[in-house]
């Protein structure tokens, strides 16, 4: 494991996350380019079975401990630090998900090495690892190097297709033991997502509004457009936090992942946490008054305009087209 590229295999409620397979796919590329092993560390309670699903790695080290049944940041980081104490990889990749948020930061502190957050890719330049990071809500790309190893990299979901990180090979599996003190943070229970009036994941067309819609009063414009397209209205986080739409309509990291045939993003900047939930939509159209909005990086078609002016005109044009089609 020393000198390897290592991935934190994140499990949640009994399954390995998609983000883990994405990280393994990237890790495999980097490890092969450097000619080193790809390793994975899995923490959990009854983790051994899940280790078999991590065949993209050459070696899987798992840690079984009742305190690790949930990925609580502090016990998890402490367990990882103990495992890495005398087998230091070159890089340790942690998926940047709601499950693991904080684990990378704590691990880097515990190891006394650098943490690099917001990575979307890893490059090798003259034998050195460089992290390519997306920051400032998606507006800036930074290339970052760290002194000291292992560098702890927080990896945005979507870096590679998860498919490339799955393998039917059987990895070598080893168990490691750790000693943990009691956790002052404990999970009492999960509360399942409230079923909303519409299931966003089943819609062919979504009209999603962001902060650019400006007020709850303007939501009617989006409702009309959605109706004309035969779809439903979704929202970005600030729209939900303002109480303009229920949580069941949130798209993104903490909300739903959707793949409609058409996703219309209205006044949404395209922060990585939002893009994560909609990037696989078949056709993405974005309207934003800022020509530099990162949403135009994922959209297929873009319109630089004020949504409040554009939506009614677009709705009228669609209605007119439909009327013509009906009479033809």
């Amino acid at each position: 494991m020393t000198g390897s590229i290592c991935v934190f295999a994140e499990q949640w409620r009994g399954s390995i996350s998609e983000a883990t397979y994405e990280a393994l796919a990237l890790g495999r590329e980097v490890a092969d380019a450097l000619g080193v092993q790809l390793t994975a560390i899995l923490t959990g309670s009854n983790a051994r079975e899940l280790a078999q699903t991590l065949g993209a790695a050459d070696l899987v080290v798992y840690v079984d401990h009742p305190l690790l049944a949930e990925t609580l940041p502090q016990p998890t980081a402490e367990a990882l630090a103990q495992v890495l104490q005398d087998r230091r990889p070159r890089a340790f990749i942690v998926p940047l998900t709601n499950v693991s948020l904080g684990v990378g930061t704590l691990l880097a502190l515990r190891l006394g090495t650098a943490g690099i957050n917001f990575c979307k890719d890893v490059r090798i330049a003259g034998g050195r690892l460089q992290a390519v990071c997306v920051m400032y809500g998606g507006k800036i790309e930074a290339t970052v190097e760290a002194a000291g190893e292992p560098v702890v990299l927080g990896l945005w979901p979507g870096a590679r297709p998860a498919e490339k990180g799955r393998s039917s090979r059987s990895p070598v599996v080893e168990e490691a033991t750790v000693s943990l003190r009691d956790s002052p943070v404990l999970l009492r229970r999960y509360v399942e997502a409230e079923a909303g009036d519409v299931d966003l994941t089943k819609q062919d067309v979504l009209v999603a509004v962001g902060r650019g819609i400006q007020s709850k009063d303007n939501l009617g414009l989006a409702e009309d457009l959605a109706k004309s397209l035969g779809g439903a209205v979704a929202g970005s986080r600030p729209v939900i936090d303002q109480g303009w739409l229920p949580l069941s309509r949130q798209v993104g990291k903490s909300g739903l992942s959707v793949k409609p045939k058409l996703y219309v993003a209205l006044g949404i900047s395209g922060a990585p946490e939002h893009v994560e939930g909609m990037k696989d939509s078949a056709l993405i159209v974005a309207v934003n008054s800022d020509p530099r909005a990162p949403i135009f990086n994922v959209a297929h078609y873009g319109i630089v305009a004020d949504v409040l002016e554009t939506i009614p005109v677009l709705t009228a044009a669609i209605e007119a087209k439909r009327a013509v089609a009906r009479h033809a």
Binding site: T105, Y136, G137, A147, P184, L229, L247, N297
Partner: protein, 261 residues
């Protein structure tokens, strides 16, 4: 009950961002600083707890352009005290911010022991990590992030915190206090305070200042930016230009072509 709210100014990304000569950082001359969005939610959550449990709320912020506005706004909204930590170089990394805050919490009279330390879950410039787990580590306190709901038990020794998971699932956690929590969203949208009230706070209240005391190297392992550039959106989307009518017609044609109309 004593609640600290850790606040940090971050660039407003609605404005154009320019890269400084040298190509490794933002040009701060062109940046407008605003309170990091989730820090505003952390403040709101603290004020809601104060209303329910009678706590004192102290807002603690790192010196940066516009920070006085943010701190006076916090006072106008109902915070009891505002402390500004001065002396960090512009563009300081998050690890230094966390160090300066942890030291101030330990050293500035009246800040510790705190029962609850709240801060935003993540800022858009947290390149080397998150403040909440860093401060938790430095002070050896429990940490939980992505919190969207928070209540305290009758004894004030345990918090019940709700954390968001993917897909709208939530986890309810018991957290022994004192603890550091990264707030994603307050239970209610942050309150609005009229400018007149902020002006009044500027006249009648004051901001305490404390110096940051950091080792020369910041005391942190280094993550070094070797290149910074703007993400050019032009590469991907095909842009549709024209007045609303012609753009709508073009888009209708595209949607028809995709069998969507």
């Amino acid at each position: 009950m004593r609640i600290l709210v850790l606040m940090k100014m971050a660039p407003d990304v609605v404005e154009e961002l320019e890269i400084a000569p040298g190509g490794t950082a933002l040009d701060l001359d062109y940046v407008r600083m605003i309170l990091s969005e989730s820090d505003d939610h952390a403040l709101e959550q603290a004020l809601l707890l104060k209303e329910r449990h009678g706590a004192t709320v102290t807002a603690l912020a790192l010196d940066a352009p516009e920070v006085d506005d943010a701190l006076f706004t916090a006072l106008a909204k109902g915070a009891d005290r505002a402390v500004k930590i001065a002396g960090l170089d512009a563009g300081f990394p998050t690890s230094q911010a966390a160090r300066a805050m942890s030291q101030a919490i330990a050293q500035v009279p009246g800040l510790s022991p705190a029962d609850l330390i709240l801060t935003g879950v993540q800022a858009i410039d947290d390149l080397d990590g998150l403040i909440a787990p860093m401060v938790a580590h430095a002070l050896d306190l429990p940490y939980l992030g992505i919190v969207t709901r928070l209540s305290l038990d009758a004894s004030g020794r345990t918090a019940l915190a709700t954390k968001e998971y993917p897909g709208g699932v939530r986890g309810e956690f018991e957290v022994k206090l004192p603890a550091v929590l990264g707030i994603q969203a307050a239970e209610k949208p942050p309150r609005y305070v009229p400018v007149a009230k902020v002006r009044a706070a500027m006249k009648t209240q004051k901001i305490d200042s404390a110096p940051a005391s950091l080792p020369a190297d910041g005391g942190c392992a280094a993550a070094q930016v070797v290149e910074m550039k703007r993400n050019e959106p032009a590469g991907h989307a095909e842009m549709l230009d024209g007045d609303p009518e012609s753009v709508s017609d073009k888009l209708c044609g595209i949607l028809t072509g995709h069998g969507l109309l």
